[in-house]
Symmetry: C2
Subunit: 398 residues, 2 copies
């Protein structure tokens, strides 16, 4: 019985590691004042499309209900949260801090780090357009990566207004700008240089440079040499502020400006960022500012947020030698006989499996060993499976 | 922007109550030695149909992927877990104790207690056919209802082999038996009596009685007066054992035998049960023994289990005056100024929202009040929103 392509089962040990990671992430969200919200597993397709645009919506799993309405399994959580806030919370106090941990679905070719069903965890900070809000979501991202056990993960940041302003500044038409952004996003230097060669205009020589500029505040100075235009000032000021604040928390070394970072989602309007660890070729986390998204659902509020792929973090952790030891959540005792002993232990919060096949000691020890249960209780005695040490049950219950 | 029919959003307060309930249920499962497993949100439709039979599979949300394979959002978790165990765990040590908390999807007419997307939590005890296993899952059900805050919820039990044996005993053909079981399940006494009147045979007079017999061990005695046949002995012995064991744990009053309890799922082969609270017209929890299900996926192992509807429990709790107080998970402090104060508090596990709009005290107090945040920190001072008491931040961090 094969599973659908791009999906997987989670056996207990695997799921315990995932649940532990999810709990660590939820704890970070709570410490930053974010509260979890949830939306349905599927939405009307027109809602998804209004949020994501045509290209990404096309990657959604769609089906038609019996009334003929097209539905889609949600391909991400930012659009549903924007819909939720716009319809239910638009008149409440701002800013709103919401978070989520939820499965999402994309019809893509499965490969490492790219499943058709995967789990997104993320935050949305809604109702505030300030650089303070940008800083806050960057810091939550860094803390989440730390809490996950990846304190060396680094974040690349960019500001979509900077790239757009540069492209306008060098005189590109909207069509050309789209092509160049696509080349830039894939860091296709050969094609970018060819494009510049064709144009001849010395101004466009900044484009390959954009794909190469990467680093700290010095790359902002460098960019201003090419494009000393006030239209980039706002974006540059934001990136500067973010770097300075990260610096003040001793996390400056983990953030790099990268003008070629252009995320797929068309809803971003300002800051964009992605987090990486050196050994993996895909991002762990991505986000940014999307001030126009809520307006598409009638909500009209600035917002910023990010989401990470829980399974991608698990891959990164596994590459580094597995989750910190195996997360153990199996039974601590195998108990034969009287129900009341098992019940008394459980009332103390202990994990107790009951023996179902009688009370023969050898069989009980074998069963416990097969299941990795460290202790057996039979006939009023607690026996350690490893070593065989015995003590009266009363000692446990005292 | 409407939601799909039969689905809902969860705002933070609502979701906090649901998450608290899910955590309480997971804790019960762990204390009984059950470990959580997970399966994809959708499966190949032929898998769902193999488990559930045609009628229930027809209630699933289906879609066709781009290769033409029909998929279905899972309508319940027992079939996917049976598939998982049959394909991945069949050679491991038995018994297996698995649990889950997961969304499932059914295309039904939405009404109270019946959503198209809802959350199932449940257990599966696999690889043991004994009455001990039946007892264990009954006890986990009672403990789960207790932990949820519904210690007066009662469980109706039946054994499908008893009903089947009675129908054969009175001479019904398979077609007639199906009709009678359907009438019995709906407790349609009028139609059952009409059926008996047509037949004339005094033996069939037991059928309306079956729909009325409900109670403790005395109803087993009563049944044996009508059908003194060894074919019902096995089932009756099981029910007797379950009642006796519940009695020994002082829970006998919460279990009643009900021969008209016939669950929809065709995979049940022995014990079946459902839990109710008096004020709700739908069951909270249902389950039973399904010894043939794993065999449909090549696994061949006896098994028993149950699942409950998390949203149904929430309805029951809400009817009784809400979840025990509101579950509070919002920020405890609103902090303006230096990032390091917020960070130091978070490092102590405290929930801290950061002020994004400057450090004017009146505005901060107003923002905190609007969000239900009890304390503001600004300029090195912690201020109680209610009352205005002040103390130095150092006291908090000491």
């Amino acid at each position: 019985m094969r599973l659908p392509a791009g999906t997987r089962d989670w056996l207990p040990g695997e799921l315990a590691a995932k649940r532990a990671l999810e709990a660590a992430l939820r704890a970070v969200f709570a410490r930053f004042g974010y509260q979890e919200a949830a939306t349905p597993g599927f939405e009307r397709f027109d809602v998804i499309e209004a949020g994501l645009g045509e290209a990404l919506a096309a990657e959604s799993f769609r089906f038609t209900d019996r009334r003929g309405t097209t539905m889609a399994l949600r391909p991400e959580m930012t659009t549903p949260i924007a819909r939720l806030v716009s319809t239910r919370l638009r008149n409440g106090p701002m800013p709103l801090r919401l978070c989520y941990v939820a499965p999402v679905y994309r019809y893509e070719e499965p490969q490492e780090g790219r499943m058709r069903e995967f789990t997104q965890a993320g935050v949305e900070l809604i109702g505030n357009a300030s650089v303070e809000a940008d800083v806050e979501i960057m810091l939550t991202a860094l803390e989440a990566l730390d809490a996950a056990g990846l304190p060396d993960a680094c974040i690349d940041v960019n500001h979509v207004a900077i790239v757009d302003a540069v492209l306008r500044e060098v005189g590109l038409q909207p069509d050309e700008a789209r092509v160049v952004k696509s080349l830039l996003g894939r860091r296709n230097l050969v094609a970018l240089r060819a494009f510049c060669g064709e144009r001849g205009d010395p101004k466009v020589q900044v484009l390959p440079e954009l794909a190469l500029l990467r680093g700290g505040t010095e790359v902002l100075e460098r960019l201003l040499r090419y494009v000393p235009h006030p239209r980039v000032d706002g974006g540059i000021a934001r990136l500067r502020a973010i770097l300075a604040r990260a610096e003040s928390l001793s996390m400056g070394h983990r953030i790099a400006i990268d003008f070629a970072l252009l995320r797929d989602f068309e809803y971003y309007t300002g800051l964009v960022f992605e987090a990486y660890v050196p050994e993996l070729g895909f991002s762990l986390l991505g986000g940014g500012r999307y001030d126009a998204l809520l307006g598409r659902f009638g909500g009209e509020a600035p917002a910023a947020g990010w989401s990470l792929g829980v399974e991608r973090l698990l891959i990164a952790l596994e590459r580094r030698g597995g989750m910190e030891a195996a997360v153990v959540d199996g039974a601590e005792f195998l108990v034969a006989g009287d129900d009341r002993v098992a019940r008394a232990l459980r009332a103390r919060g202990v994990r107790v499996a009951r023996a179902l096949n009688g009370a023969e000691e050898g069989a009980l020890l074998a069963e416990a060993q097969a299941h990795g249960i460290p202790r057996v209780i039979v006939g009023g005695t607690c026996i350690e499976v490893a070593g065989g040490a015995r003590r009266p049950v009363e000692e446990l219950l005292a």
